[in-house]
Symmetry: C2
Subunit: 323 residues, 2 copies
């Protein structure tokens, strides 16, 4: 364990807080509202086109902070290693985490490692917890969603889920299928700096767009109307989904978010989103509606055939261990 | 997953931060130095005399905050569940966590749950991350340790490790073998309130007293002299260790700490420690020495036979999956 810490973790993550090697990292005061979030990562395979469990564990937690408008600052990382995990694999993952953290301007300031016997884990699980600071005037969430608001997605959907699944199942689809895993804090920070009034941001992870919209409609007690043809989905994801019998609207993303904001903010927001590589395919996909008399939140998908399909909540997880 | 959240986690941990069900919990400003710590818990069996993985995941992280003098405030919890884990087991663990958190005056404000396939985990792993506030004048750590300082332990050693091991191996030792798992923040807070000058506190978890003293001697570049007969060890732990061929000084504790402080603070500290149930067996066990000319940090154990044994670092972990 001492060797793991001194030869792998500490050199990779080195910073003044971590290096004190105390029971807790001691951080400076956080003068402002603090965003705090945690996620466990159990993705299989560990390495997939466009990312790995290490970068995912950084970007996923950074994005959960960013969705509240928070500037990501510090991260903790807990590792559960299965006996027999090759040191080379661990090093590759830790190096990827370190480089992802640096690219996000975030520091990994404390950590823990446990080893479980062979057959009692699955190579490596990582839990990361993030701390960020929320700017004073930012207050985003489902409670702000109002009928008349517009729905935007930040880019094409489904690439992460399909990339992981195709790698796991050894499927070889045509096209350049790469995970969309990416940090979103910079584009979010640009929206804040440019003074765009947002009502709610949410990253489209497990369960994809359909699941997230259902959760938001339920919490905000609204309906939502989405136009299918406006939702960006790449040809390769669409093709893979057709072959696998999956609906891309339920497939997980790791670098995409939905943005709900007043109509008069849409053009400014779109201009900013399109200036960032991670969101250059941003599109308006629909709007928020008042509840009908039945008072049941709903997601209506207008199809190209002039019909309306109800996007419901799936009862199970469409794809397991995708993050 | 929605059912898990709404039927098990949310009712048990309910608080205003968690209930917002956002990507991040939004906490009020932390005006003061912030202690931040994380640990993964993989103990087997999940339930043992004196505790379970749930209470351990709370107390362990609370104690890592307390060892820096921090007042514990908020916790995150990430769960990795193995498919097939009975709901009743999960409920028992979550209930135990909730009650442990309440007893520590700490709130579980955000969380995450992942499910892995049967055979790819071991029932349940929990990672908790804690946030606390460090009082202005508190600055504890190995950098403060000085020759002449006294070494105290807060109570009898080895009960946690032996309790878990005996449960796991189906051993039936005589005596009331219960884990010492307990929160330490209250007694630490009393030391601060009474104005005791401490130099370093460290909880005696993995590797026990011997490992922790070695780490502290190494970091502070000192030697340490410990008198074996002064170290409190219960008869039942001593007996079990003899039968198992274990050295209790290397066995893990989850509610014990070492306290290093100037000689003139010892009596006040002991009085306070003895007033708290969790530390009523506190004892002075030795002192910090300057390095000899060889400049190699050391731990010397004076035995009842007037000999001196060197307490070295173990090369492996004495007992796996004890926390």
């Amino acid at each position: 364990m001492q060797r793991l810490i001194h030869e792998i973790f500490q050199p990779a993550f080195s910073n003044v807080f971590l290096n004190s090697m105390q029971d807790s990292a001691i951080l400076p005061a956080l003068n402002g509202r603090v965003a705090f979030t945690t996620d466990a990562y159990v993705v299989q395979p560990l390495f997939f086109p466009g990312g790995d469990i290490g970068s995912l564990a950084i970007f996923g937690t950074v994005n959960d902070l960013a969705m509240q408008g928070a500037k990501p600052l510090y991260l903790s990382a807990s590792f559960i290693l299965e006996e027999g995990l090759p040191m080379e694999t661990l090093k590759r993952i830790v190096t990827s985490m370190a480089s992802a953290a640096t690219s996000c301007g975030i520091q990994i300031v404390c950590g823990d490692t446990k080893v479980v016997d062979h057959g009692k884990g699955d190579q490596i699980f990582i839990a990361t917890t993030g701390i960020g600071l929320v700017p004073n005037h930012v207050d985003w969430g489902p409670h702000r969603i109002q009928p008349g608001d517009c729905l935007l997605v930040s880019g094409d959907l489904g690439a992460h889920g399909i990339a992981v699944l195709s790698m796991r199942e050894g499927l070889n689809f045509s096209g350049n299928l790469r995970s969309d895993a990416a940090p979103l804090h910079q584009v979010v920070s640009a929206l804040i700096e440019e003074g765009v009034t947002c009502h709610c941001l949410r990253d489209l992870t497990r369960g994809g767009l359909a699941t997230v919209l259902n959760e938001l409609a339920m919490t905000s007690q609204t309906g939502m109307q989405v136009e299918e043809t406006r939702i960006p989905i790449s040809e390769s994801v669409r093709g893979a989904c057709e072959m696998l019998g999956l609906d891309p609207l339920y497939v997980a993303n790791e670098g995409r978010f939905v943005l709900i904001l007043p109509q008069n903010q849409v053009q400014t927001a779109l201009n900013i989103l399109k200036q960032h590589q991670v969101s250059h395919q941003a599109a308006v996909i629909g709007q928020v509606l008042p509840l009908s008399e039945s008072r049941t939140p709903f997601i209506h998908l207008s199809t190209p055939f002039q019909t309306v399909r109800i996007l419901d909540v799936l009862s199970g997880e469409q794809l397991p261990r995708i993050c």
